[in-house]
Point group: C2
């Protein structure tokens, strides 16, 4: 059964609207999910631990007497680290080291300077006190996600990283716990869903309130995060994952087909797009796709994703490919070309850019160093990968000297009176010298 | 008529709950506003210019034939700059220069490094293509707000800053237009409300879509911004403005009273809090408040704000004051003490910190240099002043050498197989050398 992949050509008159249709993604909210989430959040906010216990019994079938029993000890995390196979332990550790090394370069420092009046201006950078990390249970339980979310928080200096992870029917994922041990997660509660988000946002008798909640989750988790935004900070609400590969036609078509698969295997809504100025190469990759697909473990998911959402786009040259890419603002962008540095100059928006034929996107998912939490659905136009900066905040520092307060007080006075705010004006005028 | 200001004492057993009550702020959404905003956004999204014209006629009573007629020329902005009084023009220019100078220090640079395998890792920093700036019309039309929102965008390198400002009945504020001229705003449309937010988010035939919308607005504007978040970026949804003053009791009580007024005069919901270890000083400030209030132009607003939301808090010492301040995470924090540097060490959360007796908060609103768009309602726990960083985004750069792809491909392969994602594994394995 051949996969039919959409073909687009940038020279066609209706290319823009075809591209818009390809990228369209329905993120409309589900009314029933909304209602259910609001109810759960309200219960957790007002009844704390009791509500958390009830929802955990209802949704995860865990019957315990107290939320304290849902906390996992550091000893249990260390035990998981010992239990997992040697090669996985080593690989997790190597990945964590590279991720930490990269993120340490994102650390921001406080700064200040003095102007000619002796007035001090600056910015004080401080970590969040406490961060919450949501980790999905079940089949989407990814240890790499624990590393990518927890390590930047710890590098930022967050004193307490609190992880929540559902364990339906008590099923625990030792790889996830091992990753938590390696990443330095401080506390772990086996609670999930909107009730976990509520507990982290409002705090309960046992689970402390955090300042920001990060990490992926299903529609209930995403809706709950959107709902508590403002009470706490949140990371992005992620759409389906996407990859855009720009290839000059000189990379092994099997490699490119597999790179597209690596995105498509995430879920049926994932999107894989290939752009090339070489029409024969597009055909060759399609042949590779059909050859390799039957050999894939997750062939059904890949087939649906490729049929519904993939595309092969023919362009006149690499410059046009860059233009199309900038319209898409992809989450992952592979520049599988001879001279990726030259093409990089033309790229304005992308979550992460994978340079050259050797840089498989999958390397970035696990162990390259940069974060794998990236802006989806075109939001790379205005947002950034998860980073240390997401776990720090800034305070402006203003310290006027008597001379500076005299000089700038006069400016403030004029502007405040221009805006009709005379208390502002008089407050500044008190600090003006009477000569 | 004496103002009755709440008194709290940090040594009281129920201080925590009293403080929580004082800070409580109802930001629940208004269902009717929501419905109305959704309707307006849908119309603008689907009918573009036509809908913008209809809503502008309906809400602002402007009857024009095309949206092009609602655009204000650069010549008109320059004319406004010539029209306003000399002292205001000079003050605006001085404020803009200081704001620009401060924000230039926030500019972030791209960086990259090579590891021992010759693999390149880094981060590319790029400006947003286009930013939208909402400026309220009517009494809350503040030229300082134009400077504070537009200058960081231009410093960041945003190519096009598009301002929208309602002009009900055609009433134009020349100070606002002059500020736009000074700040380098590229285009101005006299459109307001949810219809302006919709036009900036989705684009119309005449108004181009932007990547991020910033700037203050009423409940309709705030609701519309929340609604289009995801399609475009937005700045914070601001709550009422607040000031927290920590004073050792040695500052002139009239100065402190006026500093509290400068926040209270914004609107009835604004919050002004004074903390001091000196009970006599709290009494002295209350005396100053009652003495000065009758002399204030905006006495009615100040009286309501002070009665409903202000507080004088007595603490044991300055360290306890810092602890209370960290619980509040204030938007504006004045350290009106002998040694503000020492106290600063203990401050963990605040939008902007005003150091010493000479640094009136009002100076920061206009011309100190740092931004006056600050996190409100305790969100300084996890967010920052508006800055150049809000108009830039980052892309991760990953360029593996053949050697690096070989070494790290093995790590990725183990981890991907551990997660059951075999397309990821095989994509990495293609780049491993066959020895």
């Amino acid at each position: 059964m051949t996969v039919n992949i959409k073909r687009l050509n940038a020279s066609q008159a209706d290319f823009d609207s075809q591209l818009a249709t390809l990228l369209a993604w329905d993120d409309s909210v589900d009314h029933q999910v909304n209602e259910s989430v609001r109810h759960i959040l309200h219960e957790v906010k007002t009844r704390g631990d009791k509500a958390v216990l009830e929802f955990t019994e209802k949704f995860d079938r865990l019957n315990v007497a107290s939320v304290a029993e849902l906390e996992m000890s550091q000893a249990r995390l260390r035990q998981a680290l010992k239990t997992i196979p040697e090669d996985q332990r080593v690989a997790l550790q190597q990945a964590a080291d590279r991720v930490r090394d990269y993120h340490e370069r994102q650390d921001q420092k406080s700064w200040q300077y003095q102007d000619e009046d002796g007035t001090v201006l600056g910015q004080k950078v401080t970590p969040l006190d406490r961060a919450g990390l949501y980790v999905p249970g079940g089949k989407a339980a990814y240890p790499s996600s624990v590393l990518m979310n927890a390590i930047p928080a710890k590098v930022a200096g967050v004193a307490e990283v609190i992880m929540v992870v559902p364990t339906p029917d008590g099923v625990v994922n030792d790889l996830v716990l091992a990753a938590a041990a390696i990443a330095g997660v401080d506390r772990v509660f086996t609670v999930g869903g909107a009730q976990a988000v509520g507990a982290l946002a409002y705090g309960t008798e046992t689970i402390p309130a955090v300042d920001k909640i990060v990490g992926p989750g299903n529609i209930y988790v995403a809706t709950a995060k959107r709902e508590v935004f403002g009470t706490v900070g949140i990371d992005m609400i992620a759409g389906p994952s996407e990859i855009l590969v720009i290839c000059d036609g000189k990379t092994d078509p099997d490699w490119i087909a597999m790179d597209l698969f690596s995105q498509a295997e995430h879920d049926e809504q994932a999107q894989s797009i290939l752009i090339s100025p070489d029409a024969d190469f597009l055909n060759a990759v399609e042949t590779s796709i059909n050859k390799l697909l039957p050999t894939m473990e997750r062939a059904d998911i890949i087939r649906t994703s490729m049929t519904d959402r993939a595309a092969l786009i023919h362009v006149a040259d690499l410059s046009e490919a860059a233009k199309v890419s900038n319209r898409i603002a992809p989450e992952h962008l592979e520049l599988s070309v001879e001279n990726p540095e030259a093409l990089l100059e033309e790229i304005r928006h992308a979550g992460a850019i994978f340079m050259g034929r050797y840089t498989a996107e999958a390397l970035g998912d696990y162990c390259a160093g940069p974060n794998h939490v990236l802006p989806t659905s075109g939001t790379a136009r205005f947002s950034s990968p998860l980073g240390v900066y997401d776990f720090q905040k800034r305070s402006s520092i203003i310290g006027f000297s008597a001379k500076g307060a005299d000089r700038m007080g006069r400016v403030a006075s004029v502007l405040a009176r221009g805006e009709g705010l005379t208390a502002h004006a008089r407050s500044a005028e008190y600090r003006i010298k009477n000569d």
